[in-house]
């Protein structure tokens, strides 16, 4: 088999080589046995490096490890009550109890998911009376929350539009880049966040969308932009739609916060509906993680508005073909919860109310934070951008060094881009947070923005 030299060769670090020929090595523990067994199995994965911690989910892990009493987790975007406890919506509890009583079976869903869910989710997004639904022009597939929906769409783009690029906002949710990278879809950024105003760089955004090659995909956050909390105004949306139409781009919406931003499901869908009304073909990814608190159930949908029902059928069939080798068919539990909640008028009404309360709590916390900052900060800095931002997150304008100061000195956990999750903030903690922000902003080492 192998020469003795090869038999004792130690595999290099880095990429391990599984080529033809004997793979041998010395196992650290069993040195004595190497003499007897010429070929000692060493793992093929010898050279697999440790992956870096996820910037968002890693924050929660670091928070858990912190023993300080004052610690505050403003990292991950999961809603918390005023008592900073996770919140399961009452309407979800009701739905689950109902489902338990019904005792339905657990058979495989079709690849495209639960029909009742698909109908409900499309109606929620586009409006039950939307002509595109009546005309059967929308391909809807239940998928694994927002991530799964985006990934299916990305895989579809890679297969059918292999030369097209996706334009993503600068900044955007960190996982967007991972999704397009892993799907091998090239991307570039369009200007979005203006650090000078801590607001939208509208001119930059339009210019960059204009400059991109015709027929690019433009990834837009339907509402409550993550991580900045900065949304275009209705007038700005019209102009964005104009330039997208002019350049024959494909609008691709990520709707992770419908109902959670303003408190109104319809209002939060208005950007999507604006584009659809113009007769455009549109991709829309949805998630029920936040607005129904179904984070761990992984429930969402990918919708593609097509020019005709025939096109929609073809597109749907190809999305199914991409889903089958990923997970075969989607998980049933979350879909049933959504279908039950949306399908029952009483529960649907209750849901809307709970959503208003969640969005309302966030608005209150924003106000209190702003009030605390304005009262405590003597520098005259304008903190009103906090009130103009919307949704779960606020882009504070703190840079990485300043964000580190928030954590190291104040035990406040956030992502290094300066994003705080207001969903993790209570009224009681606003003043402490204000102190920390003011301190980090003015005294934290590094260039203040």
């Amino acid at each position: 088999m192998a020469s003795s030299a090869a038999a004792f060769a130690v595999l290099r670090g880095g990429k391990s080589e599984a080529r033809a020929g004997c793979r041998v090595g010395i196992t650290r523990k069993n040195f004595g046995r190497v003499m007897m067994a010429l070929a000692v199995d060493v793992s093929r994965f010898e050279g697999v490096p440790m992956a870096p911690p996820d910037p968002i989910l890693g924050v929660s892990e670091a928070f858990k490890a912190d023993k300080n009493d004052l610690k505050l987790n403003l990292g991950v975007g999961a809603y918390r009550t005023e008592e900073l406890q996770p919140y399961v919506l009452n309407v979800v509890k009701k739905a689950e109890t109902l489902m338990l009583e019904k005792g339905e079976n657990k058979e495989y869903l079709p690849i495209e998911g639960l029909a009742a869910f698909n109908k409900a989710t499309a109606e929620l997004l586009f409006g039950a009376d939307n002509p595109v639904l009546k005309q059967g022009r929308v391909a809807t597939l239940q998928s694994l929350s927002g991530t799964g929906s985006l990934r299916l769409a990305a895989a579809f783009i890679q297969r059918y539009f292999p030369e097209a690029k996706v334009l993503i906002s600068s900044p955007t949710w960190g996982n967007h880049k991972n999704i397009f990278n892993d799907a091998r879809v090239p991307w570039s950024e369009y200007r979005y966040y203006d650090p000078k105003t801590v607001g939208l760089d509208f001119e930059g955004m339009i210019a960059d969308i204009q400059a991109a090659p015709d027929g690019s995909f433009v990834l837009l956050h339907g509402c409550a932009h993550n991580p900045t909390g900065i949304d275009p105004t209705p007038e700005q949306w019209e102009k964005i739609a104009d330039v997208i139409q002019e350049k024959k781009h494909m609008p691709f919406f990520d709707v992770a916060y419908q109902g959670f931003a303003s408190g109104s499901l319809d209002e939060d869908a208005s950007s999507v509906r604006l584009f659809v009304e113009r007769g455009l073909e549109v991709f829309v990814a949805q998630s029920y993680s936040k607005n129904l608190g179904l984070y761990a159930e992984r429930i969402g949908a990918i919708n593609v508005v097509c020019s005709t029902p025939e096109v929609a059928n073809r597109v749907k069939s190809q999305l199914k073909r991409l889903a089958r080798p990923m997970y075969s068919n989607p998980p049933i539990h979350g879909a049933r919860i959504v279908a039950n909640v949306v399908g029952d008028p009483t529960m649907f009404g209750e849901w809307k109310q709970e959503m208003e309360e969640m969005a309302g709590r966030i608005k209150n916390v924003r106000q209190k934070l702003y009030d605390s900052l304005s009262a405590k900060d003597k520098s005259g800095k304008d903190w009103s951008f906090i009130l103009r931002q919307i949704g779960m997150f606020s882009y504070t304008g703190l840079n990485k060094t300043q964000s580190d100061n928030m954590t190291d000195k104040w035990h406040i956990y956030m992502t290094k881009d300066g994003r705080i999750s207001l969903a993790g903030l209570s009224l009681a903690k606003c003043e402490y947070l204000a102190d920390a922000i003011i301190d980090s902003f003015h005294n934290g080492l590094g260039t203040a923005k």
Binding site: C22, A78, G103, N105, E107, Q135, Y160, Q318, K320, Y327
Partner: protein, 428 residues
């Protein structure tokens, strides 16, 4: 792509509010997207549902049915659900999934007292049932062993080909099924193992091979394992039927245990779709045995890195059911009893089908029906015979001659035997 957008470009005017009519006159982006072929397995059930005949029998889909032909939710599952409703916390699972579910899954596959578990040498993540586990592994293989291929048995579950293809890992096949005997082509299999380049990756069905139901014997597994050692091949086990094949999960994991004893470092995909009846919950696990704890941590981190841009983290409900059942001695005992019950019913139906065919005076040998194991029986029928079964007798199955024994009941076994006999009699 260029054509449809060029078509849209000619005559394009900056438009404002167009309304629905404009969409119909506008050329679609998706002009070049062809309709995908129907899924061969799921299409069978659709046709079955559409058939009004009172005699119709569905032996197509691979989901367990009771003796009345009804889907089953296990008692242990119902009880687990009762317990977890109210324990309400739907916060994201860690990226790798439920720790408890993973722990229990590893015990099932590697053995309750496995030293590898104690030494923390196994990188494991919760996955989207068997499909998701295979896909994670295929993506991992592509990323870290980009020059490797996957050897897939002939035949295999159709989706295996889709999975490694979409992961962009080149595939080769190896001999497995012997049509003449409707059994294992063992010498063909061993030849292919020997002829494959050293260090190749092989996909093996741990038990209850899908679609043939043909498994190697214990001796044969030992020989395969030995040859794998000689060739330094990597064994990746797809175990979708643990407990469901023989009725005994320990026995069904025998192939894996043999390989572990022989010092192989394996990969394993586990599914709870069949053995716990959790089909739609998508509960499964992917594990890879590593050199040591440090490597296992690194490999797990990379598996999570692959999962993150696919679905972020796995669904909680099915995982909670699994960990509740396996973590509670009483519920686990109940589960073992119920899974044996399902396996026994299938084994009973195999006997009954064979006996019925023999009673009808069929000159052919039907040994393979009881020799094969698990949910499926590879009948050896041709597509034409299958079509006849469907068109004349309203019996629905996949055209490769695969019968899902789970769809056979005391109520329909005689009818099924008669129909099969008729189809064979005419051809002969």
């Amino acid at each position: 792509m260029a054509m449809s957008r060029a078509a849209a470009a000619t005559g394009a005017v900056t438009r404002r509010r167009l309304g629905a009519t404009a969409a119909r006159s506008m050329a679609s982006w998706f002009g070049h997207v062809e309709p995908a072929a129907k899924d061969p397995i799921l299409g069978v059930t659709e046709a079955f549902l559409a058939d009004p005949s009172p005699d119709k029998v569905n032996v197509g889909v691979g989901a367990y049915r009771d003796d009345n032909g009804k889907p089953v939710v296990l008692d242990c599952v119902r009880e687990a659900e009762r317990r977890i409703t109210g324990n309400m916390n739907m916060e994201y699972l860690p990226m790798g999934g439920s720790i408890k579910m993973i722990e229990e899954s590893l015990k099932l596959a590697y053995g309750e007292d496995s030293q590898f578990i104690k030494d923390k040498r196994i990188a494991a993540v919760q996955a989207l049932s068997g499909t998701g586990a295979c896909r994670l592994f295929a993506d991992f293989q592509k990323r870290f062993l980009p020059d490797s291929h996957i050897y897939i048995p002939t035949p295999t579950w159709a989706n295996h080909h889709n999975i490694w293809r979409d992961a962009q890992v080149p595939q080769r096949t190896f001999t497995y099924y012997h049509p003449e005997s409707r059994g294992l082509d063992f010498s063909g299999l061993m030849d292919d193992i020997k002829n494959a380049p050293d260090g190749s990756f092989f996909l093996l069905h741990a038990c209850a091979h899908n679609p043939t139901g043909v498994d190697p014997s214990e001796e044969q597994w030992r020989e395969i394992s030995h040859q794998f050692k000689v060739k330094n091949h990597f064994p990746f086990f797809d175990m979708a039927y643990q407990g469901f094949a023989s009725g005994d999960p320990e026995r069904d994991a025998k192939a894996i245990r043999i390989f572990l004893e022989d010092g192989h470092q394996i990969g394993c995909a586990q599914s709870y779709a069949k053995n716990m009846g959790l089909y739609g919950q998508r509960a499964g696990c992917l594990s890879i045995l590593c050199d040591d704890e440090m490597q296992a941590v690194a490999v797990k981190s990379q598996l999570q890195q692959i999962a993150r841009p696919m679905y972020s983290n796995p669904p909680v409900h099915g995982a909670l059911i699994v960990s509740t059942i396996l973590g509670d001695p009483e519920l686990k005992t109940l589960w073992l009893k119920e899974v044996k019950g399902m396996a026994d019913r299938i084994i009973g139906m195999r006997k009954a089908l064979k006996q019925n065919l023999e009673k009808l005076g069929s000159p052919m040998s039907w040994e393979h029906i009881t020799n094969q194991i698990g949910m499926f029986c590879y009948s050896g029928m041709t597509p034409e015979q299958v079509d006849r079964l469907t068109n004349e007798f309203h019996i629905y199955m996949t055209r490769n001659g695969r019968i899902s024994m789970a769809g056979v009941t005391t109520g329909n076994v005689a009818y099924l035997a008669n129909a099969i006999h008729e189809c064979h009699a005419v051809i002969i």
